[in-house]
């Protein structure tokens, strides 16, 4: 029962993009995204203590050694997630096909974080997010 509801939820998520999300759906997928990022960096910080991460009220603050301060935040008015990276600059992500995608170059939030983290600490980020 629960499983089938979950599957239904996934099917719905697959066909709708950010603009089609209801406010509630947006908050669910955006919170889930930020929480998975938080969990990934918390796990990483156990191996690399210089990594600092904090999530509060939809704003995730991250400190990566050698690179500096990141801010990832929810932007509910346009149903986006915003990233400010000291390496790649500011980007705004829309939810498309279950991924958070930057419209201008089609890069994804997960891929950017994984690549910059590898650059910073030479360790893979265990993040289940494209």
């Amino acid at each position: 029962m629960i499983r089938s509801r979950l599957l239904q939820g996934r099917a719905v998520a697959r066909i709708i993009s950010s603009r089609g999300l209801s406010t509630q759906q947006y908050h669910e997928v955006a919170d889930e995204c930020l929480e998975s990022i938080l969990a990934a960096y918390e796990a990483l910080s156990e191996k690399v203590p210089e990594v600092e991460v904090e999530l509060s009220q939809g704003v995730l603050s991250l400190e990566l050694p050698h690179l500096g301060a990141y801010v990832i935040n929810k932007q509910p008015p346009n149903k986006q997630i915003w990233l400010a990276s000291p390496v790649s600059g500011p980007k705004r992500f829309d939810y498309v096909d279950e991924k958070w995608v930057y419209a201008r170059d089609k890069s994804t939030l997960g891929a950017i974080l994984k690549s910059e983290t590898l650059q910073a600490v030479n360790q893979e980020l265990g993040l289940d997010l494209e």
Partner: protein
């Protein structure tokens, strides 16, 4: 008029006042300078063939930026005005952008990156989006100008002399 509207709104809202008080501790002096003495605030005639207008941002997000350029017959930005409703960093980013692009060719102005603005104003990470908005604004103004003057083509700046003669 528009300027007054924006600034009065900023000052009269209690929520907007809080970052103002915090400015002395958190905003860089350069942001404060541009915020308190914004350069080139105003409006150009959007209908003029010589004027390109860029309007970016979304009211719902709290930031709207209008940047207008006037381009002379050599393809150089001869006048520039802005009007921004938003946070101190957004106002400072657009104010600094107007100072930067005056006297530039369209091609040069189109190459300005948000990082240049963020560096000059020492913006913190969370405010990088404001400098990006200023980059979007100048690009949008250039695009609008070029759409009004299609004979100049995308290489207007390079071939400005020839294009001006042709026109």
């Amino acid at each position: 008029m528009l300027r007054n509207l924006g600034f009065r709104t900023l000052r009269s809202s209690p929520q907007a006042l809080m970052p103002l008080r915090a400015t002395q501790r958190f905003y860089h002096d350069k942001v404060l300078d541009h915020y308190n003495n914004p350069r080139n605030v105003g409006k150009l005639d959007a209908k003029s063939q010589k004027v390109g207008t860029g309007l970016v941002g979304a009211p719902a997000c709290g930031d709207v930026m209008r940047l207008q350029i006037e381009v002379d017959d050599k393809g150089v930005i001869s006048d520039v005005k802005f009007k921004t409703f938003g946070c101190g960093s957004a106002i400072a980013s657009s104010s600094y952008m107007t100072e930067l692009v005056r006297g530039m060719s369209l091609e040069e102005a189109g190459k300005i990156k948000n990082t240049t603005i963020a560096k000059e104003l020492s913006l913190p990470p969370v405010k990088l989006h404001c400098s990006m908005l200023a980059e979007d604004a100048i690009k949008s103004a250039i695009k609008d100008y070029r759409s009004k003057n299609p004979t100049l083509g995308p290489d207007a700046a390079k071939g400005a002399g020839a294009a001006a003669t042709a026109a």
